[in-house]
């Protein structure tokens, strides 16, 4: 009897070709990261042609410390986008953090305590985003667009147009200087530690697995016992805390707390994440890819600055890069479809196929 049933099963045809194709995205991702490495090499070469200072340690410190705030904010944003949501409010949380920090410092509260309070403010702001998205079920694009305005507004209420400076030396040294005897800025150390932690969580733990599952199919994830709402809320809280930390770093680097600090940085954060190969529709992406994208953007901005490109044109370049990052995978997919069509007949869209049947 059981042999008979086994034989019934054996009659179902295997699907070797379909499998081979499905494996492709992984390989494509590796190619994407290689491509980013190649772009970094080209930019480095171009940088040396533009200026003999490009490859100096001092320039490396400049180049990296200039993007560290967006770099650390890109890490939680990567996870949020993999989970098929988005956080546009990070730049305003950065500004709010800077304003609260300056306000408290000016009011005589010790700086260590100020930093702690600011991180709590970040967590609360993230919690607000998370509850509205995950519990109330509102689209994150709209929610965080709202808090983008809300947090910036609060920052301006708190600090107005004042700029608070006169921070202690240890603080500004952390923001501006490198580890003595090396070209490695202190802030790069912060990024390295955070990047390692995010790498681990994303790719080695089941929390990361659950985030990918939520991004690929949130219903199936929920039916599998994944607490989707809590997971998403936690991601927004982490994003808020990291954005607040970025506010601390930016304040230290500029030696100046202002309500308008960080205006416009969300664009760069999202650009880095998408340039890193993360799918804007969720479910796909890697932390290593995003780390490479950080250095790609850093090298590009630095090369443009050394070449005397005005900040307006730099903004144009970042905008173009964002569009290319989003469209490149799309065109690659179209190209693959066309080549499939030429090779093996036409594949109808997935929804048009009898779900029970895999054979084309």
């Amino acid at each position: 009897m059981s042999e008979e049933r086994a034989a019934v099963a054996a009659e179902q045809p295997a699907v070797p070709s379909a499998l081979a194709r499905r494996r492709a995205p992984l390989a494509a991702l590796a190619r994407w990261e290689l491509l980013l490495l190649l772009i970094i090499v080209i930019l480095t070469w171009a940088g040396t042609q533009i200026s003999k200072y490009f490859l100096t340690g001092a320039n490396f410190a400049n180049l990296t410390s200039a993007v560290m705030e967006v770099a650390i904010m890109a890490l939680p944003s990567t996870l949020i986008i993999i989970a098929a949501e988005i956080d546009l409010s990070v730049e305003s949380m950065l500004g709010l953090s800077s304003a609260v920090l300056g306000f408290l410092w000016a009011a005589g509260v010790p700086l260590q305590l100020d930093i702690g309070i600011v991180l709590v403010v970040g967590a609360l702001g993230g919690l607000l985003n998370g509850l509205l998205v995950a519990r109330a079920g509102l689209p994150s694009l709209v929610v965080t667009l709202g808090t983008l305005a809300l947090f910036r507004g609060l920052a301006q209420v708190i600090l107005g147009t004042n700029a608070i400076s006169s921070f202690p030396a240890w603080f500004t040294t952390f923001g501006f200087d490198s580890i003595p005897g090396t070209p490695v800025p202190w802030t790069l150390v912060v990024f390295a530690v955070l990047a390692a932690a995010f790498w681990y969580v994303t790719h080695a733990t089941w929390v990361g697995r659950q985030i990918f599952a939520v991004g690929k199919n949130k219903d199936a994830a929920r039916y599998s016992g994944v607490d989707v709402a809590t997971l998403k809320t936690a991601l927004f809280v982490v994003s808020g805390i990291i954005a607040a930390l970025a506010g601390v770093i930016l304040t230290a680097r500029f030696s100046s707390a202002r309500a308008d600090n960080g205006t416009g940085l969300t664009l760069t954060v999202v650009t880095i994440v998408l340039l890193g190969g993360v799918d804007i529709n969720g479910g796909k992406g890697t932390i290593p890819g995003v780390i490479l994208a950080v250095f790609t953007i850093a090298a590009l901005q630095n090369a443009m600055r050394l070449a005397g490109v005005s900040s307006e044109y730099q903004a144009v370049a970042i905008g173009l890069l964002l569009i290319v990052s989003v469209t490149a995978p799309y065109f690659a997919r179209q190209a693959r479809l066309v080549s499939d069509r030429v090779r093996g007949g036409r594949h109808p869209p997935a929804t048009a196929v009898d779900p029970g049947e895999v054979i084309p």
Binding site: V8, E11, Q12, P16, Y223, S224, G225, D227, G356, I359
Partner: protein
């Protein structure tokens, strides 16, 4: 092919020697078929037998590598779906694909709306033609209503109206009954018969053999891309068809006897506003409790409450004698309840995760309390379950989307077995999978019951429920209409209760009903 008798009737549609290869797979190999005007011709076969490939060739989605297609004796080419339409080949797919925000009439005439003066769409004309079409089909549908909110059955009828709006010579129905309830199926059949009687050649693709017998005039069986037999339905038995499809005789529905133990899950006066009311029952160890009823009777809604997806508005759930609160699927999982959902693509699987990743998804926190995932441990565990359920795969690292429907369903079941549940709820576990896989799912479920699990088995396939269940609860409009023990279960008795007939009028000793797919005496 030797079985094919030369036909005196003229064939409307003829297919000669069609072959189609996809990379390494020969999907169709030299198949031939003819459908006469005024007949309903069944095309049956397991998944992968080539039915859908042939339908897609006739619909102009695929171009065959070899072979000829003749319409009324003239050779035709169908390079794309527009050509198929122009030739009068209309295809109704398994899942209705309509635009939910457009009106019924707009959906029917989407491709070629009636024009008024200056080429603008004539809305009045469109409404009038749609009404005429529905009248012809004897269907009551408001042509001006939006499609959103219409039942699956009504949407299916709109698809048919759409197909017939172009004066179809050939109507192809690709598993149209998969999501319909029994009386909706009857209504569909009436319309299909009426269409046949108007001289249209109908090709009916189905998994459900009882439907083939109820509706069709002749049947053709495909197996592994090859034509096996074409014969008048009167010359065939269920056992014949099954044998032709799988290549040998199989026993359907092997529910084994199992000792019924203590009550595992008890439900008392459970209600959810707008879904079901005052539902009470118990599931015992070793028992398969069938939940029958029409679509919308509240079967899935009860399952969703038991799995913590929806909250009940009143009532009590007890597990092992103790009241429990199931606030989320993860709470239900911890309590030992597992749920194989109705829609396995939407709710059951992450299709671009590997088999192993899918199987371990619900138990990751339990499996790896220190967060770090050990790939090899994970794979070993997944491999154990995949082998136990005989998932046909090249390995547990294979992506689920590359598997056949039946194997995907086995992965869903494997995933829930890995959670080590005490109560397993299966919601339409065999929908859309082929007979071979169906038999295996039945075997698995039967084995699980024998191993002491309590099983709630929801299915619209009546013969299946009758054969698998120790007891059947029949739901009608959110209430339990009848509880039928296995020994007294007949299709008539269950259908009577499901359609809301008063129990007193039941025929007390109903004789065995017509043998459908569930006859299984092969």
């Amino acid at each position: 092919m030797s079985d094919r008798a030369p036909s005196p009737d003229r064939a409307r549609l003829e297919v000669h020697g069609i072959s189609k290869r996809f990379d390494a797979t020969l999907a169709l190999s030299d198949v031939s078929l003819d459908v006469r005007a005024g007949e309903i011709h069944a095309l049956v076969g397991e998944n992968g037998a080539g039915k859908s490939t042939l339908v897609k060739i006739l619909a102009g989605v695929h171009v065959p590598d070899a072979g000829r297609i003749l319409l009324d004796g003239r050779e035709v080419h169908v390079p794309d779906p527009i050509a198929a339409r122009a030739l009068g080949i209309a295809v109704v797919h398994q899942e209705p694909r309509l635009f939910p925000d457009l009106s019924v009439a707009e959906n029917v005439f989407l491709a070629d709306p009636p024009r008024g003066r200056y080429g603008a769409i004539s809305w009045r004309e469109m409404r009038r033609e749609a009404d005429a079409l529905f009248e012809q089909l004897d269907v009551r549908l408001d042509a001006g209503a939006a499609v959103r909110g219409l039942s699956m059955a009504d949407q299916q009828l709109i698809e048919i109206a759409k197909a017939l709006s172009v004066d179809a010579r050939v109507l192809i129905l690709d598993e149209p009954t998969a999501s319909l309830s029994a009386h909706e199926v009857e209504r569909l059949f009436t319309i299909v018969r009426r269409t046949r009687d108007r001289g249209v050649a109908v090709l009916f693709v189905s998994h459900r053999l009882d439907e083939v017998f109820a509706l069709c005039d002749r049947a053709t069986v495909f197996r592994d891309g090859k034509h096996v037999v074409t014969a008048p339905i009167a010359d065939l038995t269920t056992a014949d068809l099954v044998r032709f499809m799988v290549g040998r005789a199989v026993t359907l529905f092997p529910k084994a006897e199992a000792a019924i133990g203590e009550a595992l899950l008890e439900v008392r006066d459970l209600s959810r506003t707008g879904a079901f009311r005052d539902v009470s029952f118990a599931v015992h160890a070793g028992e398969i409790l069938g939940l029958a009823g029409l679509v919308g009777a509240g079967r899935t809604e009860i399952a969703r409450v038991l799995f913590g997806i929806d909250a009940p508005s009143a009532g009590e759930i007890r597990l092992g004698g103790r009241p429990v609160h199931l606030g989320s699927p993860s709470a239900a999982l911890r309590a030992g309840i597992a749920y194989v959902p109705e829609d396995r693509h939407r709710d059951g699987l992450v299709v671009d995760f590997s088999i192993a990743d899918n199987i371990t998804l619900p138990i990751l926190p339990r499996l790896f309390p220190r967060l770090l995932v050990h790939r090899s441990a994970e794979r070993t565990l997944a491999r154990g379950y995949a082998e136990r359920l005989r998932v046909r795969t090249t390995g547990v690292e294979q992506l689920v989307q590359a598997l056949s429907g039946g194997n995907q369903q086995k992965v869903v079941i494997a995933k829930w077995l890995a959670t080590n549940p005490r109560v397993l709820i299966l919601d339409e576990p065999t929908r859309g999978i082929d007979i071979g896989a169906k038999v295996e799912v039945h075997r698995i479920v039967s084995d699980l019951a024998a191993s002491g699990l309590g099983i709630i088995f929801i299915s619209s396939d009546l013969p299946e429920v009758l054969a698998m269940s120790d007891r059947i609860l029949v739901l009608h409009e959110g209430r339990i209409a009848a509880e039928v023990p296995r020994s007294e279960a007949t299709e008539e008795r269950v259908m009577f209760a499901a359609t809301g007939q008063v129990a007193a009028t039941l025929p007390v000793s109903a004789p065995a009903t017509r043998t459908g797919a569930g006859g299984g005496d092969a």
